[in-house]
Each structure stands twice: as structure tokens, then as C-alpha cells.
């Protein structure tokens, strides 16, 4: 039972952390290596909220807005010139991540920051005491997933985004302002990354380099999911399960590299990853 809960909540956290990266990769075909920095920015929004004495949950909208605003700037000045050089875009966004990390260090110092717990305590379900926050995270992941699905399937933006994913040239010739779609999607993806940063604060220590350790896992999951949010959910479940099981029964160190190694092997065997199923 504990194991099942661990698997579900781990998958939920992986999903929350990667969804922003997936949105950007799906539409822009660009890997945002500054994703880790956005997680960090989000987490520091929680720090700031606590410092000025607001309700910890107020950090969520703040992080979304700041993440999206920074995302808009990054798209305009850094991503846009590099659409035709996707490998260079990886490097430039990595550089941007370094810059953001250092700016945060200059502002807040490099020490670990303490943040108030968003939702403390434990809940007893089916005979085990379980961290209440992890269950809340599971609910939030489901909510984000639903919101994402509705945006993609039901809104005009979602329709345009799907058109750009399938055939950007055709989409443009049909009068869709693809540049605008890219900008808006990048801002939404960055906003979700900021949001994820806040949601990570109860689970991990907050310091200027916290994002990097989450980046690789999210990146591998997105590679496997190949622009489909359903495939991402499946990948989070499968690899989350592998991570929990290997950590529990073999070794936590091997568990921490399970996602990366398994995802690389899956890609080798089936280059389209989970999106085919």
C-alpha cells in the first residue's frame, strides 16, 4: 500500500515538474534547458511570499506570473533567433539557466532557504500514515493534467498549437500567427515550470542549484513522451514506479538514475518513445 502511494505520488511530482517542458518541446521543438532555473525561480517565489508574510499558497499565482513573464522575455530574445538551430538552443537556454542561477545567488545568497510547508501533517489512508502533502500533490497533478487536456482539446489556442505541432508551414499559410503561438506556449510552459517550483518546496531543499537535479529527469521524460501529454503521464507512471521500486529494493543511488537510464534505453529501442502506444 505504501509502495503504491509512493509510486502514484512520485509519478505525480514528475508530471508536475515536466509538463512545462513538454508544452515547450511539443510546440517549439526546442528543449528548454533553463527549465531547471525556472523551477528554482518558482521556489524562490515561495521564499519571497513567506518573507513578506503572505499565505504560502499565494506563491502559486505569483510564480506562474513571474515564470511566464520571464518566459516571454526569454522567448523573444534568446529562443526566437535559434529556431533553426535546435542544438544551439539547448546550449543558449543552458547558459540562460546559469545566468538566472547566479542572479538568484547574488540576490539571496547560496544558502539553503527555509519555506513554510504548504500543507503539513499526515493522513491515515487504508491503514498507513501518509504525508498529506504528497496526496495534495497527486490531486494537483491530476488538476494540471485536466487543465492541460482541456486547453489542448477545447480552446482556440490548443487548436492552433496542435496545428503548429503537426505542420508549422501549413499552419502559417492558413493564417495562424505561429510566432504568437510559440510565444504564448513558451510563456505558459515557463509559467507551469514556476508553479512546479513552488510545489517542490515542501519536498526538497531550496537553493540556487536545486533545479538542475530535476532538469535531467524531466528532460528524459519529455524525450520519451514526444509531445504527447498522455504519453507523458504514462511515462511518469512507469518510470516513477521503476524509480520507487529500485530505490526501495536495490539502492537509492541506482533509483536516482533509473529514469535517465531507462528512458535512454526506451528511446534506443523505439525512437518515438511512449507516444506510439
Amino acid at each position: 500500500m505504501l509502495l503504491t502511494l509512493d509510486i502514484l505520488t512520485t509519478a505525480a511530482i514528475l508530471f508536475i515538474v515536466s509538463i512545462g517542458l513538454l508544452a515547450i518541446f511539443g510546440v517549439l521543438k526546442i528543449i528548454n534547458f533553463a527549465h531547471g532555473a525556472w523551477l528554482t525561480v518558482g521556489a524562490y517565489c515561495a521564499v519571497v511570499t513567506a518573507k513578506i508574510g503572505l499565505n504560502p499558497w499565494a506563491a502559486l499565482p505569483l510564480a506562474f506570473v513571474i515564470g511566464a513573464a520571464l518566459g516571454g522575455l526569454a522567448e523573444h530574445f534568446i529562443i526566437r533567433p535559434l529556431y533553426r538551430r535546435p542544438l544551439d538552443a539547448i546550449l543558449a537556454t543552458w547558459g540562460l539557466g546559469i545566468v538566472l542561477g547566479q542572479l538568484i545567488t547574488l540576490a539571496f545568497g547560496r544558502d539553503v532557504q527555509l519555506t513554510p510547508n504548504l500543507y503539513a501533517g499526515t493522513v491515515e489512508i487504508l491503514g498507513v500514515d501518509y504525508s498529506a502533502y504528497r496526496l495534495v500533490a497527486l490531486g494537483i497533478a491530476l488538476a494540471i493534467g485536466t487543465l492541460f487536456a482541456l486547453t489542448i482539446e477545447r480552446t482556440r489556442l490548443g487548436l492552433s498549437a496542435r496545428a503548429v505541432i503537426m505542420n508549422e508551414t501549413l499552419a502559417r499559410s492558413l493564417g495562424i500567427d505561429t510566432g504568437r503561438v510559440r510565444l504564448v506556449v513558451f510563456m505558459i510552459g515557463a509559467g507551469f515550470a514556476g508553479l512546479a517550483g513552488v510545489l517542490l518546496t515542501p519536498l526538497t531543499s531550496v537553493d540556487p542549484n536545486m533545479g538542475v537535479s530535476w532538469l535531467i529527469g524531466a528532460f528524459m521524460l519529455v524525450m520519451v513522451a514526444d509531445a504527447s501529454y498522455l504519453a507523458l503521464a504514462a511515462a511518469c507512471l512507469v518510470f516513477g514506479a521503476a524509480q520507487v521500486l529500485i530505490s526501495t529494493f536495490v539502492s537509492p543511488i541506482l533509483g536516482s538514475i533509473a529514469v535517465a537510464v531507462l528512458a535512454a534505453l526506451v528511446l534506443r529501442i523505439s525512437p518515438k518513445g511512449f507516444s506510439r502506444a
Binding site: 528543449i31 534568446i78 533567433p81 535559434l82 538551430r85 535546435p86 542544438l87 544551439d88 539547448i90 546550449l91 543558449a92 543552458w94 547558459g95 540562460l96 539557466g97 546559469i98 545566468v99 542561477g101 547566479q102 542572479l103 545567488t105 547574488l106 547560496r110 538542475v212 535531467i216 528532460f219 528524459m220 524525450m223 539502492s251 543511488i253 541506482l254 536516482s256 538514475i257 535517465a260 537510464v261 535512454a264 528511446l267 534506443r268 525512437p271
Partner: protein, 601 residues
């Protein structure tokens, strides 16, 4: 031989200049070695220590530059190979001491362990239809895995605190400085010679156009794997030197962050220039050591900002800027001498008339529920020039693709000269004697005309890993194509400056230079002028007239088809509807209906 005198004259005047320019890198290397050998007494201890480390890192930068700048493989993995070399050294020297045997074992392990892992990583990263992004993904995973293994290594690897206190080579810090300098100069010189040599062109060709490499019969996969493994070995040796010089190894030395730092140094210095990354690495690492004590965060901030700016605004790095200034000076502008063209006697042995060159039986192909080809039977013999016609969407290009790539999922049998090609990659089918010209001219954009042709000859003549051949031997038909299109006077011109028609002609010459038994041409005359079309028609007729090779071409221009074909095959909606002589097909009611659109109903 060709009667193009201007080329011959220029070539005759060249040798002296060429000999000079060939000796230049050796002279520069010797001077650099001398300067660095006598440098230590003039530097303080701190500078000697830091520069020793910087020069070892610069060796890694050279390997990253070869992989990324030249061969187009963006890698973060060199750090892992470096770390493995360093750890192997520390572990062996720690266990056996710096005895001659211990040192020999450490060198061997530092070279072989990373090289073997490099082989495995190469195998994982490069396969038929693998993408550059996937190789980068793997190169990211490798250092992460290696670092976690180091963490879980317990006493063996010292876990998170690393290894320290092992025996090292009996040198003073000046000795390590000189050793690192020599190592750096040797590696840089070797890399310099390699990339200037004909074999170095193959690396650039891989970066430019991997598919064209495969369709020239080169095995891109094998080249990439070999490069990965051998440069992993070099990185391992750098690790050996590092472990000895610093006396301590730590998990960070193998980490993904160090891997990204290497890429940053190479990018700032100038990818694809060798000297740029070397100087960039030494300068940045030395500056970092001096500045990061006073302004640690500011320094990282500046470096990150510079990196982003360089990637966006100056992808060639600082070396590109220097190079542009240099070329603006009168001394910097030197036109390289073109190689001398020589005729090569044909090596294709005549295929026995009894076995067809190409035999297709019951070929069918579908994309999901959409059937593109169905029930195709076709036999082609030497000396035939077969035109494949049919309206758009009839399956002509798909058929060509199946004929040249056995990994395409199709059913039925295709045999070239009696050998079934199912499952064979394009380069192996080229080995059977099939040459393919694509619809959109597929050449190597950053190479010269002569280099493109030389790569086409590589499966026959090999490529020199140390020098540039002064002659370029091509079979007579390829020379004819060059002469008729005037390309023989443009041998040193970079192909991205050629016109559309010249690129088409160059690709045809490359395919002909392969000396194939079967030439596949997808719309060779699309977008060409009347004169260029006539030239290509003449070449094709001459090629097949000798009765040794066959050609299949997809063509829309029916006048052109009528003029040159010995046989015409009509495809319609994935089926072969007519196969006959020019008169049969041109007079056919069916063909008229198909082209008029009647048969669709």
C-alpha cells in the same frame, strides 16, 4: 587526362607554397613546445599549477571540438571519460604504487576503460536513422550514471569525497606543466593534421549530410562510433595526467556539469577551429582561477551571459571573429590549389547478361492502411535506361527509396545482382553497386567541389588520414559530367556557392564516380535549363550504351524520357500498369487516360 590547362598550370605553380604551408603547423608546434618548456621559471607557483590544469582541460576541449565542431555530435560525455581515466589511474596507483608496472597499468587502464565505454556509448548513440539529439541525450546520461556509480563505489572510489593520497609520477610541478604542455601540443597537432587531411573532410561531411555519406557507401555509424571511442581514450589519458598532476580525483571531474563547461569553453573559443577552443579553455580557466576567488558569482554570471550572447550572435565563437579579420587582410586571402584531375580506368566488371542487375518480385509497401505500392515485378538488365513515369503520388519516389534502402518496411523481394537487399542499410546497398541521386541535390554544403568528389571515391580509394592527395582520380564518365558542366574549373569552390544546376551536376558526378552498376535518379532534370538537361541526357546515354551498367530514372518531362529511354515503366496508384518500349508506351491509350486524369474515376 583532361585538357583543362589553367588548372594544370596553377597546380604546377603550387608545390612550393604547399610545402611551406604543410611545414607551418609543425614549426608553430615546435615553437610553442619550446616556449612552454622554458616558461615555468618565469611564472609563480600558482600560475604553473593552474595552467597545468588548464592545458589538460584544453586537451578535452580539442576532443569536444572534433566531435561537436567538426563531426556535429554535441556531447556532454567527454567529462565522464575523463573522470573514468582519472579514477582508474588513482585506483591503480593507489593499490600498486607508482612502480613502472603500476604506471604502465594505470596508463593502459586510463586509455582502454574509457575507450571501451566509448564503444558502448557509440553503439547506443548511433544507429541507422538515429538523430543528433538522441546522441546528445545519451552523452548527458553517461556522466550522470558514472557519477552515481562513483558515489556508490564505497571505499573503492572514495564515494563523495573522492580519492586522495595515492602515489603519483615522480615530477615537480614544473615537470607536470611541461608534460601537460607537450600532451596538449601533440593532441592539437594530431587533430590539426587530421582535420586538414582528406579523412577530416569525412567528419565535416557527416555533420553536413549524413544521408549523403551513407548513399556514398560510407558507413556513418562506424565512423561516429570509432570517433567516439578513440576520443574517449584521449579524454581518459587526459584523466591520467590530471590525477597525477593534482593528486586528487573527485566525482565532479566526471560530472555532467563539467561536461557542459567543456562545451561552453569550446563555444566561446570557436567550434570547428581547434585553436579557438584550446586558447579559449586556457584563457577562461586561468581567468576563472584568478577571478572566482574575489567575485565568484559575478564571474559565473559574466561567463553565462557571454556564452548566451556568443551562441546567438556569433556561433563561430571568438575564433570566427579573428578569422574574419584575418581574411580581410591581403595575406589572409589565399586560394588553395585545386587537385589535378586524372582519369581512372573503370573497375566495374561486366555483369553476366543472364543475371539481371535488378530484380523486383511482388514488392508492396503501405503506410498504415494506405497502400503505396502493390504487386510490383520488375527486371532490369545491364545496358538498359529505364524511365519510371506516372502522375504525382503514383509511388515512384517510394519505389526508388525501397530500391536503395533495405530497412524500409516493405514486403516482397528486391535483389541487386542476385543479392537480396531486405534489411540492408543504404551504405551496404551502395556496396552492391547501387548509386542514388536524390530529387533535391544532396551534396556537402560546407565542402568544396573537389572534396565532395573525393568522398565519393572514398569507398574505392580510401581517404588519407594525414594529408591531402594532389590528384583526384575519377572514372571517365564522371570527368565528362564535370567538363560538360564546367565544374572542372570550379574544383575549389565551396558547394554552397554553386547554382542549383551545378549542384545537380555535382551530385550526378559523385554518383557516377561511385562506379555503380545501377544508377537511380530521381528527377535529375527538375529545374534545369534545356542545355543542362541535354548534357545529363547525353551522359546517361553514354553510360548505359557500353552495356555494363543500368539506369532507372523518375521523370516528368516526357519529351526527355522519349529521347533517352530504352524502356519505359508506367506506375499508377501504386501499381505497375505498363512496361514496354518507348513506342509501346507513347502510343498507349492507357497512358493518355492516366495523364488526362480519366483513370482516377
Amino acid at each position: 587526362m583532361l585538357e583543362t590547362l589553367p588548372v594544370a598550370e596553377r597546380a604546377a605553380a603550387a608545390p612550393r607554397g604547399r610545402r611551406l604551408s604543410r611545414a607551418a603547423p609543425f614549426v608553430v608546434a615546435a615553437l610553442a613546445a619550446l616556449a612552454l618548456w622554458i616558461a615555468p621559471p618565469f611564472l609563480d607557483t600558482f600560475a604553473v599549477n593552474v595552467l597545468t590544469r588548464s592545458m589538460i582541460y584544453a586537451v578535452l576541449a580539442v576532443t569536444v571540438d572534433l566531435l561537436w565542431g567538426f563531426a556535429g555530435i554535441l556531447t556532454f560525455g567527454q567529462a565522464a571519460f575523463f573522470g573514468i581515466g582519472a579514477y582508474a589511474t588513482a585506483m591503480i596507483l593507489g593499490a600498486y604504487g607508482a612502480t613502472p608496472l603500476g604506471i604502465a597499468a594505470a596508463v593502459a587502464a586510463a586509455l582502454l576503460a574509457p575507450a571501451l565505454l566509448g564503444l558502448a556509448v557509440g553503439w547506443l548513440s548511433f544507429y541507422h536513422r538515429s538523430t543528433p539529439l538522441y546522441a546528445s541525450v545519451i552523452s548527458l546520461v553517461v556522466p550522470i550514471v558514472v557519477v552515481q556509480l562513483i558515489y556508490s563505489g564505497g571505499e573503492w572510489t572514495g564515494s563523495s569525497s573522492g580519492l586522495v593520497g595515492f602515489d603519483v609520477l615522480p615530477f615537480e610541478i614544473e615537470g607536470y606543466f611541461r608534460l601537460a604542455a607537450l600532451f596538449l601540443i601533440v593532441v592539437t597537432l594530431a587533430a590539426w593534421i587530421l582535420v586538414r587531411a582528406d579523412a577530416g573532410r569525412a567528419l565535416v561531411a557527416l555533420r553536413d549530410n549524413e544521408a549523403r555519406c551513407a548513399y556514398l557507401g560510407l558507413n556513418p555509424r562506424r565512423l561516429q562510433i570509432r570517433l567516439t571511442a578513440s576520443l574517449a581514450g584521449v579524454a581518459g589519458l587526459a584523466g591520467f595526467l590530471f590525477a597525477n598532476a593534482s593528486g586528487v580525483v573527485a566525482p565532479e571531474n566526471a560530472g555532467f556539469l563539467f561536461g557542459t563547461e567543456l562545451v561552453i569553453w569550446v563555444a566561446l573559443g570557436g567550434r570547428g577551429t581547434l585553436l579557438g577552443p584550446v586558447l579559449g579553455t586556457v584563457a577562461i580557466d586561468y581567468l576563472a582561477a584568478n577571478l572566482s576567488g574575489d567575485l565568484p558569482f559575478l564571474w559565473q554570471l559574466l561567463l553565462g551571459t557571454a556564452f548566451v550572447a556568443i551562441i546567438i550572435l556569433l556561433p563561430g565563437g571568438l575564433a570566427d571573429l579573428v578569422g574574419r579579420l584575418w581574411r580581410a587582410l591581403p595575406v589572409g586571402r589565399r586560394v588553395p590549389a585545386p587537385p589535378r584531375l586524372v582519369a581512372r580506368t573503370a573497375e566495374t566488371e561486366a555483369t553476366a547478361a543472364a543475371t539481371p542487375i535488378l530484380k523486383v518480385e511482388g514488392l508492396a509497401k503501405a503506410y498504415g492502411s494506405l497502400t503505396v505500392l502493390e504487386g510490383i515485378d520488375l527486371e532490369i538488365r545491364a545496358g538498359e535506361l529505364v524511365s519510371l513515369v506516372g502522375p504525382n503520388g503514383a509511388g515512384k519516389t517510394t519505389l526508388m527509396r525501397c530500391l536503395s534502402d533495405g530497412t524500409e518496411p516493405f514486403t516482397g523481394a528486391i535483389a541487386v545482382g542476385g543479392t537480396p537487399i531486405t534489411g540492408l542499410t543504404p551504405n551496404r546497398i551502395v556496396g552492391l553497386g547501387v548509386g542514388r541521386k536524390f530529387q533535391v541535390a544532396s551534396v556537402f554544403e560546407s565542402l568544396s567541389v573537389a572534396d565532395c568528389l573525393r568522398l565519393a571515391r572514398a569507398p574505392h580509394d580510401g581517404l588519407s588520414p594525414v594529408g591531402q592527395a594532389e590528384t583526384l582520380g575519377l572514372p571517365q564518365p564522371a570527368l565528362d559530367v564535370l567538363r560538360m558542366t564546367g565544374l572542372d574549373r570550379l574544383l575549389t569552390r565551396p558547394t554552397h556557392l554553386l547554382s542549383h544546376g551545378q549542384k545537380q551536376a555535382l551530385e550526378l558526378a559523385m554518383v557516377v564516380a561511385l562506379e555503380p552498376r545501377l544508377i537511380l535518379l530521381d528527377e535529375p532534370t527538375a529545374g534545369l535549363t534545356k542545355a543542362e538537361r541535354t548534357t545529363i541526357g547525353t551522359v546517361l546515354k553514354a553510360l548505359t550504351a557500353e552495356g555494363r551498367i543500368a539506369a532507372v530514372l523518375v521523370e516528368h518531362d516526357l519529351d526527355f524520357v522519349r529521347e533517352i529511354s530504352s524502356r519505359i515503366v508506367v506506375l499508377h496508384q501504386g501499381r505497375l500498369v505498363l512496361d514496354g518500349t518507348v513506342e509501346d508506351v507513347v502510343g498507349s491509350e492507357l497512358v493518355r487516360t492516366i495523364y488526362a486524369g480519366g483513370a482516377h474515376g
